[in-house]
Amino acid sequence: MVGTRSNGRSSGTTGGSATLHEPSDTATDRIRQLAADGKTGVLQIVGSPGGLVYIADGHIVYAESLGTPGAEVAVLRATRPDEAAWAATVTAMQTRPGRKAAAKHADEVVARRTLPPVGLDAALQSATADALLDMLAGYGVTVTRTRFVNGQRPWIALGRPLTPDVALAETARRLRLLAAVGQRVRPDDEIVRAAATGPVAVRLSPQQWDLVRLCPERRTPRDLAWSVGRGVLATTIEVCELIELGVLKTASSAARGGRARDGRAGGRPGHRTVSFLTGAVPGIAGPEVS
């Protein structure tokens, strides 16, 4: 899948060369101001990829980015759709009208109470945090302007709304994780299955198999996230671990003579994971973010 995605962000073997940006002041200052004023409505983030932040009584209740799967993707994926039909649905959901239709369908599924409530709550929180990171900060993200529309509400909302401080702290934590995992693989890097080089046996979880079976062709972690209905950051971290296990590799590592961005040999099993403790504590030195 080489080319330009509907979210306007380039993908491909050179897709990871963009600079990693801190959260945009244009957007974060506006969110804080709307919260301080106790507003209810939707903040439209215009840029690449752009998205929507829903605010109710000064708290963030939902967010969606065109570049990340929303809660509707997780809900519809949980209904175990036919694989061919699902691929078409995923493509459609990456447009604004397709997303709206999917949200309507997902709302009906949620109303039937066929999904486990705790799993749904976790998916909703995760989708919101994933979207905030994707539209406010990260590789190649731009925010050109914002526009607030009073009164609009999302199709689904967090039962425990977030203050801007809490939401942006989680965005900053996720950005540090993205910077760390980006040393090995980035959301828009192409990945492929690694050819077996010997009698290496690994035990994969069902979630890991979900990703591996989707990689007979070149994919990106972002593509995979849409296909499996999980977050882009979560999927990128999972892909990073599959690279560590020697199951997947980045297409670009081959062009670098089999070496990953950090200079380590690619495609061979390793034992290194992303440090979540480093991500949680701002004072601990990690990769630089501009």
Binding site: P117, D121, A122, G159, R173, R203, S205, T273
Partner: protein, 137 residues
């Protein structure tokens, strides 16, 4: 259109059966270390110890590091099977980490912290299974 509000984790954690010596229970997204729910037994009103509490975030991050490290180890150790729980024993506290396996919850783990002076570890492990059942019900 009415807005569907989802608040299941907080409700589930607030009705968990009491485990002797339990200090806190935290539900964490395994892939990212995101705290999606937290209960501080000393603060059932949520005034502290919630998902955004800095201490909760750091403890959850450390537990997530352990889960990922053990998962990589398990992946390369054929024949061990998936791990059921991790127990970290400090002089004052026990931390028990238990990945949820029920369908629809398999990307989450539960982290329970026990006061070592008041807890019976064997009993607490048994009670955690009931707690897990309650959460995924």
């Amino acid at each position: 259109m009415d807005v569907t509000q989802v608040n299941a984790i907080e409700l589930a954690l607030n009705r968990v059966p009491k485990i002797d010596g339990m200090v806190s229970a935290v539900l964490v997204e395994t892939s990212t270390g995101h705290v999606v729910g937290a209960l501080d037994v000393g603060s059932r009103d949520g005034s502290h110890g919630g998902p955004a509490d800095p201490v909760t975030t750091v403890v959850a991050a450390a537990a997530t590091d352990l889960v990922h490290t053990i998962s990589l180890l398990v992946a390369q150790q054929a024949g061990t099977g998936p791990f059921d729980e991790l127990i970290v024993a400090f002089r004052e506290q026990h931390h028990i980490v238990r990945p949820l396996r029920a369908p629809g919850h398999d990307g989450l783990f539960l982290l329970v912290t026990l006061d070592r002076r008041r807890a019976n570890l064997a009993l607490a492990r048994h009670q955690m299974q009931a707690l897990e059942s309650q959460i995924v019900a």
